[in-house]
């Protein structure tokens, strides 16, 4: 019973198709087989790549045998596209379900539609039969709770009752969300993007992309967003899409048995997730390329685009917002912008960068508190308290009472002449007869000024509360709150500029481009630029941000302002700290993520390798003089992930490297299945058994599990090169030799610790291998 190391299509007990119809096979515990990885370990990219090449070669050689084999090879080639199609369909469907449910449940906090209980406020009002102009905002079919319960619509008691019920509903939703997460799928909390970044770089977290996580994340995301908390659904949607990707990978052995290929599918699934969150397929692919993926071969580019398109198309056909758009705040502008407006745009960029830095620093400090102090022991209580505070403070201000997406939508939209909201309370010229989309600049009425006050309060509130909300034990995203902060700031600046241009149109800065009676300034555009700046300041996205924003607005004319703001905010934010929010969370949790920054210090491999001077010597195996008992003792006494194999303890010339997990499985299986293998049996990694007297027990050949080509560097190799090798090849460990003799070993953890030390961070914060 030799262990299969090199072959890829190995028939393990769970995969054999038993014709006796064991329908309940999936209920049994799967046997761990050689070639799989342990939880919280890193994969071996080179091994996965060579396994896939072997598999492909086998299929290609078999395809010449018969027509059926040829068809099977075609199916194998097309399975990738089929997986993308399925991922797109399921992600789009789930996103549509989430959008519809969030719409309804957010409005459920305030009232209910009497004609059809499942309609949200906007859908209910669409079907109303009001005909007079003055009644255009009335909606008698949708009643608030106080009106339903008491019959009155005005009064202090009614207001208080509405307030109370709003807070009650918010608490109920968030309590339900955190309980479901806690009981069924604890991995469903948080945003998910830092963990997905780590998984895509080669880390294994079992259960993070499982079916229960998918179900609970979808369900609790709706509850969390509906409870009025200051969080978004974009990050969790990426997690949901990656769970769908993992689910469909298990259908095909090409992807389910190869961790490297699986990560290609997950990169594409992440693109589909962003695509449905923003209605931006191209932006989704670029986001996956820039932010989430680690290795992104060109083949993945085309497939990600396909998955993103299918997802966007599926969502569009569900049509959750009724206007054939994929996001609530889709706007279509045609008004031009002027060069002089670049100054406020760049100011918005600076604001975005400063806010990004402030948010990252405060949020990481708060999350560190949650990790280390008593605060982390009461997650349910924390969620309830934060929800209570959010609901109590959000209800009085009409701009925070509604959902954040609706707020952004109102801020992005320009004021037509028929708008009746407070923000659009401009003083209209009664003789004016211009069409609705070409209104000249007007002076602001009192409603606008009071709206500005309320917006400023909303801005401060959102800045503070998001710091405490992101990172709680419910699904929470970050994109929408950042965009809200930026949109509020942008709109305020836009209205300020608009009023300045109207009242002082003879100043030199306005005279050239703004005639009185023309539509010069579009405050909605400033809101969009502000949103892009804040989002860029927090996540440090560059190209993907600009592409997402212009796909959101449907206008290529605004690329220059968006880019100016995004670039400025990134520069300002980078001046204070190099990492975006996701890298900062990766560092906080100590994930083994080797990022793409350059390593510029002049240390050598000897400075980093283990064992150091005062440490015990390297744990070695010899090629033919170790017994089974010695190996077992070695495994028990140490916790290294692998052992180098040398010719003998005297010469220490390197033969290969063997993994701990493979050793354990091989010895266990040999003891059970092979005859004559006892503790005194000699283990040999050579091709032929060593010369031993006949009275000694049977030797155990373990050449199959030995990696004969481990990576080695010499002791004088600069660490720059070593880090580059680790990054480009995805190594887990690297052996250090001098004149052919084995000196030591460098693992990925050592590299990460060394990099942290060089950057004056705490090297002990690297937790995983």
């Amino acid at each position: 019973a030799e262990m299969d190391y090199g072959t890829t299509i190995s028939a393990t007990p769970t995969e054999e198709t038993n014709d006796a119809g064991n329908l309940m096979d999936f209920l049994d515990e799967p046997f761990p087989d050689v070639g799989t990885y342990e939880d919280f370990h890193t994969i071996d990219w080179l091994r996965e790549k060579s396994r896939d090449t072997d598999r492909h070669r086998k299929i290609t050689s078999k395809s010449k045998e018969s027509i059926w084999e040829f068809i099977k090879s075609l199916l194998d080639a097309w399975s990738g596209w089929l997986v993308m199609l399925l991922i797109g369909l399921l992600s789009g469907t789930l996103a549509g379900v989430i959008d519809l449910a969030v719409d309804w449940m957010t409005d459920l906090k305030e009232g209910v539609c009497l004609s059809a209980l499942w309609y949200s406020h906007e859908q209910c009002c669409w079907t109303s039969n009001e005909t007079t102009f003055a009644d255009r905002d009335k909606c008698p079919q949708w009643q608030k709770w106080a009106e339903l319960m008491t019959g009155y619509t005005e009064g202090a008691g009614v207001y208080l009752l509405n307030y109370f019920l709003y807070v009650l509903w918010a608490l109920f939703f968030s309590f339900l969300a955190v309980s479901l997460v806690r009981v069924f799928a604890p991995y469903a909390c948080g945003s998910g993007i830092p963990e997905i970044k780590t998984i895509l770089s080669g880390f294994i977290i079992r259960g993070y992309l499982g079916k229960w996580t998918l179900l609970i994340k979808t369900v609790t995301l709706v509850l969390a967003v509906s409870s009025g908390l200051s969080l978004g659904k974009e990050g969790p949607l990426v997690h949901v899409a990656c769970c769908c990707g993992n689910l469909f990978c298990s259908l095909f052995s090409k992807y389910s048995k190869n961790e490297g290929k699986r990560r290609e599918v997950l990169s594409a699934a992440a693109a589909a997730g962003v695509s449905v969150a923003f209605g931006a397929p191209i932006g989704g692919v670029l986001f996956s390329l820039e932010e989430v993926s680690y290795y992104f071969p060109l083949k993945t580019l085309w497939r990600s685009f396909f998955a993103a398109l299918v997802a966007a198309f599926t969502l569009r056909s569900i049509n959750p917002f009724g206007n054939n758009r994929l996001v609530l705040f889709y706007v279509e502008y045609h008004t031009p912008w002027y060069m002089a407006e670049l100054v406020p745009f760049i100011l918005l960029g600076v604001f975005g960068g400063l806010w990004g830095t402030l948010f990252i620093r405060c949020n990481i400090a708060w999350c560190r508190r949650r990790k280390t102090t008593l605060l982390g022991k009461y997650p349910v209580l924390e969620v309830i308290v934060v929800t209570g505070i959010t609901a109590v403070l959000a209800f009085p201000n009409p701009y925070t009472r509604r959902s954040t997406s609706e707020l952004i939508s109102e801020l992005f939209n320009d004021c037509g002449s028929l708008e009746s909201s407070q923000l659009c309370d401009y003083i209209n010229n009664p003789n004016m007869s211009r069409p609705v989309d070409d209104i000249p600049d007007r002076p602001a009425g009192p409603g606008v000024y009071s709206a500005l006050w309320q917006l400023t309060l909303a801005l401060v509130f959102k800045i503070v509360i998001t710091i405490f909300t992101f990172g709680m034990k419910i699904p929470s995203g970050l994109f929408i709150p950042s965009m809200a902060v930026g949109a509020i700031a942008g709109r305020i600046v836009g209205i300020a500029v608009e009023q300045m241009a109207y009242h002082h149109h003879d100043w030199i800065i306005f005279k050239n481009w703004c005639r009185p009676g023309a539509d010069c300034v579009t405050p909605g555009l400033y809101a969009m630029v502000g949103a892009a700046a804040c989002l860029g300041g927090v996540t440090r996205m560059t190209v993907s941000l600009v592409v997402i924003m212009f796909e959101l607005t449907g206008g290529l004319e605004y690329i220059v302002p968006l880019m100016a703001a995004a670039v400025t905010s990134k520069w300002v934010a980078d001046a204070f700290g190099k990492e975006g929010i996701y890298e900062a969370h990766i560092q906080l949790n100590g994930y083994p993520y080797l990022d793409q920054d350059e390593f510029t210090h002049r240390t050598l491999a000897t400075d980093v390798m283990r064992p150091r001077r005062n440490e015990p010597p390297l744990a070695l195996l010899t090629q033919d003089s170790t017994t089974v008992e010695d190996v077992e003792t070695l495994i028990k006494d140490t916790d290294y992930n692998g052992f180098p194999v040398v010719v003998s303890h005297e010469s220490e010339r390197l033969i290969g490297f063997v993994q701990r997990r493979d050793l354990i499985l091989a010895i266990k299986s040999a003891r059970q299945k092979q005859d004559g293998v006892v503790s005194n049996s000699v283990v040999h990694f050579t091709e032929d058994a060593p010369q031993i007297p006949a009275s000694n027990p049977q030797p155990l050949k373990l050449r199959r599990i030995l990696n004969l080509s481990p990576f080695t560097v010499t002791d004088h190799t600069p660490m720059e090169t070593v880090v580059d090798i680790f990054r480009k090849l995805g190594l887990r460990q690297c052996l250090v030799t001098r004149s052919g003799r084995l000196l030591g070993i460098i693992t990925k953890k050592d590299v990460l610790r060394h990099m942290a030390q060089m950057m004056n961070q705490d090297p002990e914060s690297i937790m995983f291998n």
């Binding site: 769970t14 198709t17 119809g21 309940m24 096979d25 999936f26 209920l27 049994d28 515990e29 399925l86 469907t93 549509g96 379900v97 519809l100 449910a101 309804w104 499942w118 309609y119 859908q123 669409w126 005909t131 007079t132 102009f133 009644d135 255009r136 339900l176 309980s179 479901l180 806690r182 009981v183 799928a185 604890p186 991995y187 909390c189 977290i205 259960g207 079916k211 229960w212 179900l215 609970i216 369900v219 689910l247 298990s250 259908l251 056909s317 569900i318 049509n319 009724g322 206007n323 054939n324 999350c367 949650r370 990790k371 280390t372 028929l418 007869s433 069409p435 990172g471 034990k473 949790n589």
Partner: protein
């Protein structure tokens, strides 16, 4: 493909087909034009079921309150919006979502209330509490049986394994704060 995969695929396919089908039938669309007061005509809201390309003032505003030469000026002031809703999709989605939440709530109540009563004979099994020293306390009564023969025993075994997994996850995330801060 093994049978579990076939099952998953079947469930996914049914859900997708269901949702797409529901969407195709019973689409409701309407165009709404809001016209403000103009000279001596009071403002009015017009609604008509037209397709998207006919969604403009000329098709929807009927009867036209102004004479022919004023129509263009009047129509410039009106704002028309097109919306397409499928009320069945919305209804089905909300009902499916609420039933999933309800099912999860019932299962949670079952795990909290009914399960400990059933398992009262096994004093070491505490399915939902976190233990600090849990690893070897529980005697491995269920695990040593291996493959149970009846469906019920296998379901029990699978459920126990799932509970153990969730407990591990809970320890990692909530207690040790190793993952997800």
């Amino acid at each position: 493909m093994s049978s579990s995969i076939a099952q998953n695929l079947r469930i996914a396919a049914v859900l997708l087909v269901f949702l797409v089908l529901i969407d195709v039938i019973s689409l409701a669309y309407a165009d709404k034009c809001i016209c403000p007061p103009y000279r001596n005509i009071s403002g009015h809201i017009y609604k008509k079921n037209v397709s998207q390309k006919d969604c403009n003032c000329l098709h929807v505003v009927e009867p036209m309150p102004v004479p022919g030469h004023d129509v263009e000026a009047y129509c410039l002031l009106c704002e028309c919006k097109y919306e397409e809703r499928s009320s069945n999709t919305i209804k089905v989605t909300i009902i499916i979502y609420l039933s999933v939440v309800g099912a999860l709530l019932l299962y949670m109540l079952f795990l909290f209330l009914v399960d400990p009563l059933i398992r009262k004979h096994d004093p070491y099994t505490m399915p939902l509490q976190n233990e600090e020293d849990s690893e070897d306390v529980r005697p491995r009564v269920d695990g040593s049986q291996g493959r149970g023969n009846t469906v019920l025993e296998r379901v029990e075994g699978a459920q126990q394994r799932w509970k153990k997994q969730v407990q591990e996850q809970r320890k990692t995330v909530f207690d040790r704060h190793k993952l997800l801060s």
